[in-house]
Amino acid sequence: MRVDRKAFLRLTGLSFLALAGKQAIRAVTAAAQSATPQLGPVRRWAMVIDLKKCLQDSGCVRCIEACHAAHNVPDFKDRKHEVKWIWKEPFEHVFPPEGAEYTLAAFRGAPLPVFCNHCDEPPCVRVCPTQATWRRADGIVMMDWHRCIGCRYCVAACPYGSRSFNWLDPRPRIGRLTTDFPTRTRGVVEKCNLCEERLAQGQAPACVAACKEKAMVFGDLEDPDSDVRSLLRTRYAIRRRPELGTRPQIYYLV
């Protein structure tokens, strides 16, 4: 059989189209199935932070030390290259509209713990081009460091500044290496993961366990009897920038 060049090119082009079509169909159906299968009861994890208790000792950084030690978070002295999962930020930075001249004078400059809000409508998940970050059914916004391409689009999208990029190799800057959790490599974005690896073993997040004032309360919003639900029933809670529609799940009791 003699195939002339035109016919050959036509055949090759059609084959590529068919292959691309097959990939596209696979991608679409895979996307439909990519929702995390929920094993066990439906949960929605959230955290309530009682600021009155937390500010009893405003110099305390136990939550930060516990988290960063448990997850091999590097300590870059240069502010430009900082990597932090949880840190203390002045009240006016965390809740800008509240920082009026005379209101809440008690809170001016007060350092509050801030970290990823594990939003219900996370803009970072919306923009990630590879689904290296996604929202689990139980509310945790996860990171897959194997897939992250380091484009930092999620960092741009996060309205809270919760995400850090590894500008340099983190290993030399890790104080005490632990085998409980991998480190990350340079070129990927990281953030608080709500200690999902500890939750899988039935433990509380590291920051919650380390808080000596018991200011950080962690629980399941789907359980009406949980600590978080009863706290939210009795005290007024504020969240960071709720007008943006991100529906953050970290609540602050003032």
Binding site: A24, A27, A31, R79, K80, H81, E82, V83, E89, E92, H93, V94, P96, P123, R126, V127, C128, P129, T130, Q131, A132, R147, C148, I149, G150, C151, R152, Y153, V155, A156, A157, C158, P159, Y160, G161, S164, F165, N166, W167, L168, D169, R186, G187, V188, V189, R241, L244, G245, T246
Partner: protein
């Protein structure tokens, strides 16, 4: 098939230029290897300002790439014969600009070896996914169009019929590439500097001013150093396009100023304050932004007044300042302004480092190299036809 043999024959001046470009590329490549080994920490980027020179250049050059539509649309859609000789130049400019864009994205990535993850795990809700699709598609479209057009011109036959729909598709596609790029920014709820519906129209207006301005400059350079003369009329018409686009662009910028400073929402004003008067002592971008504004204002005068617009030396100056003004606005002010102040209200300064500038220069040199080679091939084809 690609007529590259025409690009390796040239004068001493041609080869000096090519060698200079290769030198710049080589130096940038060394810097990039260092960046691969050490990490993006060798740039001036920081936790607060995570996108800088690379992404800003990408944003600017998507506009230049899209501007090819300004010569293609009149010629192919409205049979405007005046642009007949320069549509191919516009298309080649588009190819070079899109390549630069893709290179800028690549050098900005933290894990470039994983770039294919965007295709392995398609994510339709991410604008970056669509950006990759649209840029790749536009590159392919223009490559096919310019190859077929030039081959046909060389054989002195009309191009095949099937190329017409391909060219027509490239027109809305050109608009879409820059719209998608604007969507990267203006869908982010946390970045109030970018959260404006007018961002995409602004991008397009500035693109349609900067791109044709560059094309005019390239035609003038070619008139000086080669035997190719695009002619008086195409350049005149292009300058009219630049005029209108610049008017629209400046108007849009003024709209932004009004919205922000009349509504007086503190968070929105802070970004403009940082750019135009400095915040908390950080004012490195202030002289740049005011220069951009001044150049834009001056260019409007020189463009609108017909006597200045029709004078070639003045037009060359005007196009240069249009390009520079828009490059500062889009290539510097837009990206950094969005990141400062940070979502926590912190002001962080961003100054590109030498390796960062070196890599950027190398990508520029790649673009210039491509343009030089493409235009050399086109000119050689036309010379051999004429002579």
């Amino acid at each position: 098939m690609f007529m590259f043999e025409k690009a390796v024959v040239g004068s001493r001046r041609y080869w000096t230029w090519i060698l200079c470009l290769f030198a710049v590329i080589g130096l940038g490549l060394l810097s990039y290897l260092r960046q691969l080994a050490t990490g993006l920490g060798i740039t001036g980027l920081s936790r607060d300002v995570t996108w800088g020179l690379y992404i800003a250049q990408f944003t600017f050059f998507v506009g230049v790439a899209a501007s090819a539509v300004m010569v293609v649309l009149p010629y192919y859609l409205h049979d405007y014969k005046v642009f007949g000789k320069i549509t191919i130049l516009g298309e080649f400019l588009a190819i070079s600009a899109v390549t630069m864009c893709m290179l800028f994205i690549f050098v900005d990535m933290g894990q470039p070896s994983r770039v294919l993850n965007i295709l392995r795990y398609p994510t339709p809700n991410s604008m970056m996914f669509w950006d990759m699709i649209s840029l790749s598609g536009y590159l392919l479209l223009n490559a096919v169009i310019s190859l077929v057009s030039l081959s046909a011109e060389r054989k002195t036959v009309a191009p095949p019929g099937w190329i017409k729909p391909v060219i027509l598709v490239s027109i809305p596609w050109a608009i879409s590439i820059h719209t998608v790029t604007a969507f990267l920014y203006n869908g982010l709820p946390g970045r109030s500097f970018w959260l404006t519906a007018i961002l995409a129209p602004r991008f397009l207006a500035s693109a349609f001013a900067a791109g044709p301005a560059l094309l005019i400059l390239l035609c003038m350079i070619m008139r000086k150093v080669t035997s190719f003369d695009a002619g008086q009329e195409p350049i005149r018409k292009l300058s009219v396009i630049v005029t209108y686009a610049m008017i629209v662009n400046v108007f849009f910028v003024l709209m932004e100023f009004f919205t922000v400073f009349y509504s007086r929402i503190p968070e929105h004003m802070e970004h403009f304050r940082y750019l135009f008067s400095g915040l908390e002592g950080h004012s490195s971008l202030v002289p740049w932004m005011w220069t951009s504004m001044a150049l834009a204002g001056l260019s409007l005068v020189l463009l609108i007044v017909p006597r200045f617009r029709r004078s070639d030396p003045v037009l060359a100056f005007t196009c240069s300042i249009v390009f520079l003004s828009l490059w500062i606005d889009k290539g510097l002010g837009l990206i950094v302004g969005g990141f400062v102040p940070s979502p926590l209200g912190v002001v962080t300064s961003y100054v590109p480092t030498l390796p960062e500038i070196s890599i950027t220069a190398a990508v520029w040199a790649v673009g210039f190299l491509m343009i030089t080679v493409f235009y050399k091939i086109t000119l050689s084809v036309r010379e051999s036809l004429a002579g």
